[in-house]
């Protein structure tokens, strides 16, 4: 099957600082792929580059056969890529419902949006209880659910998740990963960025290990879990 997303030798800079030093990766339709790496490795930058929020200086990116490099962020969302950003950037002064509606900004099919809203509220029942609450007053876990739900509202084919488990209690982390699998089983391809390597690799079909802007390892989730590099550097085993 041709990959849904393919990056070839992507190099991205912030001014003169090179954050990505040639990333190549691919995601096939229906997969859960994870990108692990320590702080500052370039995981967020990779997702931002895919979403068109920063332009790569070199390299090629295709999504569903289309050239991503020349597409604007809004076109990329329309094409079916959406993201739950790092640090769960919900709109704090909007209600939960308004946040979800913003997620559907790129769509205009009212009926479909309403149906998807119901689906997402079934996925995250806690959000349903808080529809009229301001997002800024939600707990960390609820904000994460909202950020994911909001990303799902654009009905993406490819969902980018940037550290969905960051700062959450272990119990909630488990629930979040369970939901990611649910979302994937309902047909959405997922590219997951995590520092919580154990959990992320456990639910992923394949994974990439990123170190200072370069991919240093690529394998199936279970192989990576057993690889020496990952055990030492990311799972804290010696």
């Amino acid at each position: 099957m041709p990959p849904l997303l393919e990056l070839t030798d992507i190099k991205t800079y912030y001014g003169n600082i090179q954050a990505l030093k040639g990333i190549s990766l691919s995601v096939a339709p229906g997969e859960v792929v994870c990108l692990i790496g320590s702080n500052g490795a370039g995981k967020t930058t990779t997702l931002r580059t895919i979403q068109g929020l920063i332009r790569p200086r070199e390299g090629t990116m295709t999504y569903d056969g289309k050239d991503l490099v020349t597409m604007e962020a809004d076109e990329i969302v329309k094409a079916g890529v959406s993201q739950s950003p790092e640090g769960r950037l919900v709109f704090p002064r909007m209600t939960v419902r308004e946040n979800l509606e913003m997620g559907a900004y790129s769509r205009s099919d009212k009926v479909g949006i309403q149906a998807d809203m119901e689906k997402i509220l079934d996925l995250f029942p806690r959000l349903r209880e808080r529809l009229t609450q301001k997002a800024g007053t939600l707990s960390g876990g609820e904000q994460q659910m909202l950020a994911m739900g909001r990303a799902m509202m654009s009905r993406p084919r490819l969902l980018l998740l940037d550290e969905p488990s960051m700062g959450l209690a272990p119990m909630l982390v488990e629930q979040i990963f369970r939901t990611i699998l649910d979302i994937n089983q309902q047909g959405t391809t997922v590219l997951l960025v995590e520092q919580n390597a154990r959990m992320a690799l456990a639910i992923s079909d394949r994974g990439y290990v990123l170190q200072t802007g370069r991919i240093v390892l690529e394998d199936t989730g279970s192989n990576l879990l057993n690889s020496e590099l990952v055990r030492k550097a990311y799972l804290g085993e010696h």
Binding site: D74, K78, Q83, P85, L89, R130, T132, Q133, R150, M171
Partner: protein, 540 residues
């Protein structure tokens, strides 16, 4: 301030100040406005209890009325005599009827009106939502239609000031798009007002045309104003895009400084476009001002005369005949409100609020930040352009010095004091600031001067003190000080503005009740927290 008595006292004090200063039939106007205001303010808090709105309206209206009556009496027996003015009213004549009356008539009229309008507004508030809006709209329109007559009958002559004030209201509505909806702090908004006015000046006065040797009849046509208003608005919108574009990568403080720069540059440009020769680049082919450089803006002298609007029946609008101008500026305000309301709930409006909250998140939602920002500047500029067109035509002359930094500051203060992002707040806040500045303060100054001259100065021995009292005690010279003081006090006491943007959520989803008090939200939150903890522990 949930209690209608408190509201009645608060608004009553404000109304009493006005009546104390103006006396006479100002009590009628004060009664109507303050009665309605009191009922509306008490309503906001008691919206759940519909039966209470009528009672609240009556109570607060009555209290306001009592204040007005007392103020009227004090004005008549204390303020006017102290200022050395005749305390007896001139007779009030309506056609052939001449009514003899005294202060009680005016004061009681104010009281009765405050009570009646308070009750009426309270009753309208008790209606179901749809009828309520209709009722309030009818009430407002009736008042606006009657205002010129009331103003004339009461002998107040505020209408001239009201028109200039309403130009600022239009400007504040426009700036509210940029600052309130899109969250872009613009410190040079007067630039767009200036561009609108100058576009009108150039199109509607013979000034430029006379130098060109072309046919100069356009500006003399009866319909030209009605065409120019749209052309000028479009020109200003383009300048909104043009001046917005360089600010795109900037946010917050940096954006504010750049807009401040534009606000300074634009009047300077207009001041200096006096010897212009246009040549095509590289070729040296001259396009305009070849024989003699064009004097485009006439510098400090300004452009005049600028043509005035014309409508059938009324004819050309005249200086000093205020009613047509009043109707026109009201129409511009109504048009702006309609247009801004449509914008606000459109896709663009939603994009603005998302961008204001978080740019990065907004762009991950598929919002094009470049377009969204530029549209905010363009839409804000268009509204300023409308104000500029009206201003140029109303004054019939424009000068670069009119559009300086203080104009931008006053407009921004109106937006912030009224309540950023809330149109009602911006309008009410703006009216309060400018009415105090342009109507109340001069009257206070006159009264104070008269009082000092007639009651105090004759009994003062020392020439130095005498001098001080007659020359230096002048409230109109404290304008900027009082303005600054108001800003400080309001921001300390009510940082969210007079009428903050709290109902936004309720407006977007009128079918849901979002009036939960913070406490009940917390309680509900705590309750669900407990429940969800239960649920979590049951996960295997």
């Amino acid at each position: 301030m949930t209690h209608p008595v408190k509201v009645g006292v608060g608004i009553g004090i404000v109304a009493a100040v006005v009546v104390l200063l103006f006396g006479g039939w100002s009590a009628i106007l004060a009664g109507i406005v303050a009665g309605a205001a009191a009922a509306l303010v008490t309503e906001g808090q008691s919206i759940r209890d519909r039966s209470a709105t009528l009672r609240n309206g009556v109570i607060s209206g009555a209290i306001v009325g009592v204040f007005i009556l007392i103020a009227e009496i004090v004005n008549d027996i204390l303020v006017l005599p102290l200022a050395g003015k005749d305390p007896v009213f001139p007779p009030f004549t309506l056609g052939p009827i001449s009514i003899p009356y005294n202060m009680f008539v005016a004061g009681l009229a104010g009281l009765v009106l405050a009570l009646a309008i308070g009750a009426l507004t309270g009753w309208i508030n008790s209606l179901p939502d749809k009828n309520r809006r209709l009722g309030l709209a009818i009430l407002l329109l009736t008042f606006l239609a009657l205002y010129p007559a009331l103003d004339a009958a009461a002998g107040l002559g505020w209408i001239e000031q009201m028109i200039s004030i309403m130009i600022f209201v239009v400007l504040a509505l426009g700036l509210n798009i940029v600052v309130g909806y899109a969250g872009l702090l613009d410190l040079g908004y007067a630039a767009f007002f200036a561009i609108g006015a100058y576009a009108t000046g150039l199109l509607l006065s013979p000034h430029l045309c006379n130098q060109s040797g072309f046919n100069c009849e356009f500006y003399q046509q009866e319909w030209s104003f009605w065409l120019v208003i749209w052309i000028a608005a479009a020109i200003v919108a383009c300048f909104g895009l043009l001046l917005g574009a360089p600010t795109l990568p900037l946010t917050g403080d940096y954006l504010a400084i750049v807009t401040l720069g534009f606000g300074e540059i634009v009047p300077v440009v207009f001041r200096n476009l006096t010897t212009v020769t246009l040549t095509l680049p590289f070729t040296g082919i001259c396009i305009a001002g070849c024989i003699k450089p064009l004097n485009v803006t006439a510098g400090e002298q300004g452009i005049n005369p600028i043509a005035r609007p014309w409508v059938p029946v009324v004819g050309s609008f005249q200086t000093g005949e205020y009613i047509p101008w009043y109707v026109l500026i009201l129409a511009i305000i109504a048009l702006s409100i309609f247009f801004i309301n449509r914008l606000r709930y459109s896709r663009l409006g939603r994009a603005w609020s998302a961008m204001r909250e978080d740019e990065l998140a907004a762009s991950s939602m598929g919002i094009n930040l470049v377009n969204t920002k530029l549209m905010a500047f363009a839409m804000g500029a268009t509204i300023a352009g409308l104000a500029g067109v009206f201003y140029a035509s109303y004054i019939t002359a424009i000068f670069p010095s009119v559009f300086d930094f203080t104009v931008s500051v006053i407009i921004l203060a109106m937006v912030i004091l009224g309540g950023v992002g809330n149109m009602t707040g911006v309008i009410v806040g703006g009216l309060i600031i400018l009415l105090s500045d342009r109507v109340l303060l001069p009257q206070l100054a006159t009264l104070l001067k008269d009082t000092l001259n007639t009651t105090v100065v004759p009994h003062v021995e020392s020439p130095a003190v005498k001098d001080f009292l007659t020359v230096s005690v002048d409230p109109t010279q404290w304008r900027i000080f009082l303005f600054g003081l108001t800003l400080v006090v309001v921001m300390l006491v009510r940082p969210q503005g007079l009428i903050p943007n709290v109902r936004r959520a309720a407006e977007m989803h009128p079918d849901e009740d979002t009036w939960d008090l913070p406490l009940s939200i917390q309680q509900a939150d705590a309750a669900t927290q407990v429940r969800s903890v239960d649920r979590e522990t049951t996960i295997d």
